[in-house]
Subunit: 275 residues, 2 copies
Amino acid sequence: MQTKDKKCDTRCSSKTLYIVGTGPGSIEYMSQRACAVLKSVDVVAGYTTYIDIIMPLIEGKKIISTGMTKEVDRVRAAVDTVKNGQSCAIVSSGDPGIYAMSGLAFEICKKEDIKILPPSSTDKCTAKNEIVIEVVPGIPALSSGASLLGAPLTHDFAVISLSDLLTPWELIEKRIDAAAAADFVIVIYNPKSRKRNWQLNAAGKIVLKYRDKNTPVGIVRSAMRPEQKVDTILLKDLDTADVNMQTTVFIGNSNSFIYHDYIVTPRGYTKKYDI
Amino acid sequence: MQTKDKKCDTRCSSKTLYIVGTGPGSIEYMSQRACAVLKSVDVVAGYTTYIDIIMPLIEGKKIISTGMTKEVDRVRAAVDTVKNGQSCAIVSSGDPGIYAMSGLAFEICKKEDIKILPPSSTDKCTAKNEIVIEVVPGIPALSSGASLLGAPLTHDFAVISLSDLLTPWELIEKRIDAAAAADFVIVIYNPKSRKRNWQLNAAGKIVLKYRDKNTPVGIVRSAMRPEQKVDTILLKDLDTADVNMQTTVFIGNSNSFIYHDYIVTPRGYTKKYDI
């Protein structure tokens, strides 16, 4: 780690865009690599709520902080900062690669025809339209949520966002149907927002076509944060679930069971191993 | 964190089973919580390779270390250790909830009729057949691999293991077909082992029924370890991919593209946002 820390002081890593996952909530669940990057960069960009959580690590730094809907502006400002010779970290909670900022950063680089170099070649990054990108992974909500529910993801699973802002509802519906029919455990991101309230019930109805009404469902809200809330319910009661934008929903497969309030998806469909 | 560290010294947390994810490779990508737990427990159980990686944190501790195929013995020994009053951490690389040890631990507790209490109730854990379980999540291979490839997981994805040791091949095949038909990005775990060599090609053929032969595919081997290897290829060339048991394979969806050797799955299927 010292080697990488030192790199942050050299001229060339100052042309590096870091896309950093801060994990589920508190700094306790961030990686050492993420901490080291946040401490060493010149500028930090992120949604206000995430910036507040990491403030102890970045005090005194320049912050590009905007509201949730200004994602494109924020990433573009971060890319400009790096092109102009500084280092900048874009922060996301969870993992930055899962429904988060890393896709947008690469999309903007393509749009602006910026050449991307890997972290190993910081010393070659000299041209004006070149930047280095390092994506620093974080613990995603699917992992932090699962850890609080027990072991719901010990078998194949599908991850689906119910946000129809950028994806047509017909495609979301098709994916829920396919995942339910093929007996995937289903992890639902963005089940609800202030403007979207019917999608989770609609999803539940599709899954009920294929799965027993007593299938275990886990509802995890704000994992590892002070307002954390974990519930285990049954699929037939999904319409009563207490969900918001900070909630991840886990629908078990046909073999999942509840034991002492924990959801467990067994590893084997066949009985080749004997416990 | 100090509060939780202190808990590890009290009598009751000595009846705690920790199921700890060490992340992709080096200690640099572990969470502070995982480090603190490993430093404070009495006993550590894990596959020899993972134990070696974390050795700097656990020197001098009692180790339950067995080969890869002795998983059930290892978890049972860990559960017994905890029942007898010590604290024990079962370690997995990546996230312990994804195709890893947490499912087996809960299954064994059910089999042995052991009551499981949450971490918040260590002081109530007094009966002989009660233990506390805390699952400490880690950065999974799907996140570490994606971070090296660029941004392949910015949209819905399905995670499928090709190991047919505990799952019939017919079900694996059905899931690949469903995921491909519904245009999920597909993440493949366990693509190959010494005894299994034909499954990845079979999976590729199924996906080709639905997806263009030039669909980007990312091959990540031993992410964040000295032997790390990252390749970006096309779906039609999957049969030439250099994979082993430490490899994760990422197959893009119909919108994924390659830009400067990085795989990017755009966030939007519709064009509601303008970059």
